[in-house]
C-alpha cells in the first residue's frame, strides 16, 4: 500500500513536470504568434495612394472646370482645344519625388468626350481631346486588375460633366495613377 502511494505521488509529480514543459511550449508558441502578427500588421506601411490619386483628380477637375464651365485656357481663339495646354503648370503640380525613379511616380490623363447631338440628332460621345502628364508607362498597370499585383501602381478614374463657353456639353474622364510602391506597399 505504501509503495502504491509513493508511486502515485511520483507519477503525479512527473506528470506535472510534463504539463509545465507543454505549458511553456504553448506560451512560447502564443508569444511567437502574437509577435509575428503584430510585426506583420504594424510593419506594413499605410497605403495612401488611393487617397492621393483622388486628391489629384479633385485638384485637376477644379483646375479644368470652374462652376460647371470649362477653363477658357483649354480652348484656342478659334474655339478648338488647345493642344499646348500644360496641365502640370496650369494646375500647380509638381511630380518630382524623393524616389530615384526618373520617369516619375505619377501619371495623369484627362479625356474630353463630346456629348452634343450630331447631325443625326444622337450624341456621338466621341473622345475629342486628351491631355496627359507624367510617366505614361504607369498606365499599363491600370489594365491589370488582380489583388496579387498590389505592388503595381494604383489607378483611380472619375468623370464629370461640364460646358464650354457656347454651352456645348462635354464629359471629362480623369485618370490618375500613383506608383510610390516603396513607401506604400511591403
Amino acid at each position: 500500500m505504501k509503495k502504491n502511494n509513493k508511486m502515485i505521488i511520483k507519477n503525479k509529480l512527473g506528470a506535472e513536470k510534463i504539463i509545465s514543459i507543454y505549458w511553456f511550449a504553448i506560451l512560447i508558441i502564443i508569444a511567437g504568434a502574437v509577435v509575428a502578427m503584430v510585426s506583420l500588421f504594424y510593419g506594413t506601411p499605410y497605403d495612401v495612394r488611393d487617397a492621393e490619386a483622388n486628391i489629384l483628380i479633385n485638384k485637376v477637375s477644379n483646375c479644368l472646370s470652374e462652376n460647371g464651365k470649362l477653363n477658357k485656357e483649354l480652348f484656342n481663339e478659334d474655339k478648338k482645344f488647345n493642344e499646348n495646354y500644360n496641365l502640370k503648370e496650369k494646375c500647380n503640380l509638381i511630380f518630382e519625388t524623393e524616389f530615384e525613379n526618373e520617369r516619375g511616380e505619377y501619371f495623369l490623363e484627362a479625356d474630353f468626350y463630346d456629348l452634343n447631338d450630331g447631325p443625326s440628332g444622337v450624341s456621338s460621345g466621341v473622345k475629342v481631346f486628351s491631355i496627359s502628364e507624367g510617366n505614361s508607362n504607369l498606365y499599363a498597370d491600370c489594365k491589370i486588375e488582380n489583388e496579387k499585383y498590389n505592388k503595381l501602381s494604383r489607378c483611380v478614374d472619375r468623370e464629370f460633366y461640364s460646358l464650354d463657353s457656347s454651352n456645348n456639353i462635354f464629359k471629362i474622364k480623369i485618370t490618375s495613377v500613383v506608383r510610390k510602391t516603396e513607401k506604400n506597399v511591403k
Binding site: V48, A51, E52, I55, T97, Y106
Partner: protein, 151 residues
C-alpha cells in the same frame, strides 16, 4: 478509507496530501499564476509599445501632412494637434520645432535622433511648418502649416 502514519492521517479521498505538501502546491500554483500574469503583461506591453512606436507615428504623420498639403489651396493656414508627437519627441530628446520639416516638396517627420520619415506631395505650393507657442513661449502641442503660392 483512511491511512494513518504516526498518528496523522496521510490521506483520505478528501485529504490527499500532508500539510507540507499542501504548502508546496500552493507556492507552485502562485508562482505559476505569477508567471502567467508576467507573460500576459509583457505581451500587452509589447502591443502598446508597437502601436505607439516612433517609427509608426513618423510614417502616419508624414503621410497625413503630405495629403493635407496636397488638398490645400493657397492661401491657407492649417493647425494640426500633435501633442502625442510632442511627448514622444521630448522623451527622445528631440526639440518639438525639429519634428516636422518641409524641404522642397517633401515632408520629413523626425521623432528620434536616428530615425525620420519622408513623404512627397504633388501640390506645387510654398508650404511652411512651425510649432505654435503660447504667451510664455512654450509649445502648445499644435503645429501650424501655412500654404502660399510659390514666388
Amino acid at each position: 478509507m483512511k491511512i494513518k502514519k504516526r498518528g496523522k492521517t496521510l490521506f483520505t479521498p478528501f485529504n490527499f496530501f500532508t500539510k507540507s505538501e499542501k504548502a508546496e502546491i500552493l507556492v507552485e500554483n502562485i508562482i505559476f499564476i505569477l508567471l502567467n500574469i508576467i507573460f500576459i503583461s509583457i505581451l500587452i506591453f509589447f502591443l502598446f509599445k508597437q502601436s505607439s512606436g516612433a517609427a509608426l507615428l513618423e510614417q502616419t504623420y508624414s503621410k497625413q501632412i503630405a495629403l493635407m498639403i496636397d488638398s490645400a489651396k493657397p492661401v491657407m493656414e492649417i493647425k494640426l494637434n500633435m501633442e502625442k508627437m510632442q511627448n514622444i519627441a521630448e522623451k527622445n530628446k528631440v526639440d518639438f520645432k525639429e519634428v516636422v520639416s518641409i524641404t522642397g516638396n517633401a515632408v520629413n517627420v523626425k521623432l528620434s535622433q536616428k530615425t525620420g520619415y519622408e513623404y512627397s506631395f504633388f501640390n506645387d505650393v510654398e508650404a511652411k511648418a512651425f510649432p505654435e507657442t503660447d504667451s510664455e513661449n512654450e509649445y502648445t502641442g499644435i503645429y501650424v502649416f501655412t500654404i502660399n503660392e510659390k514666388k
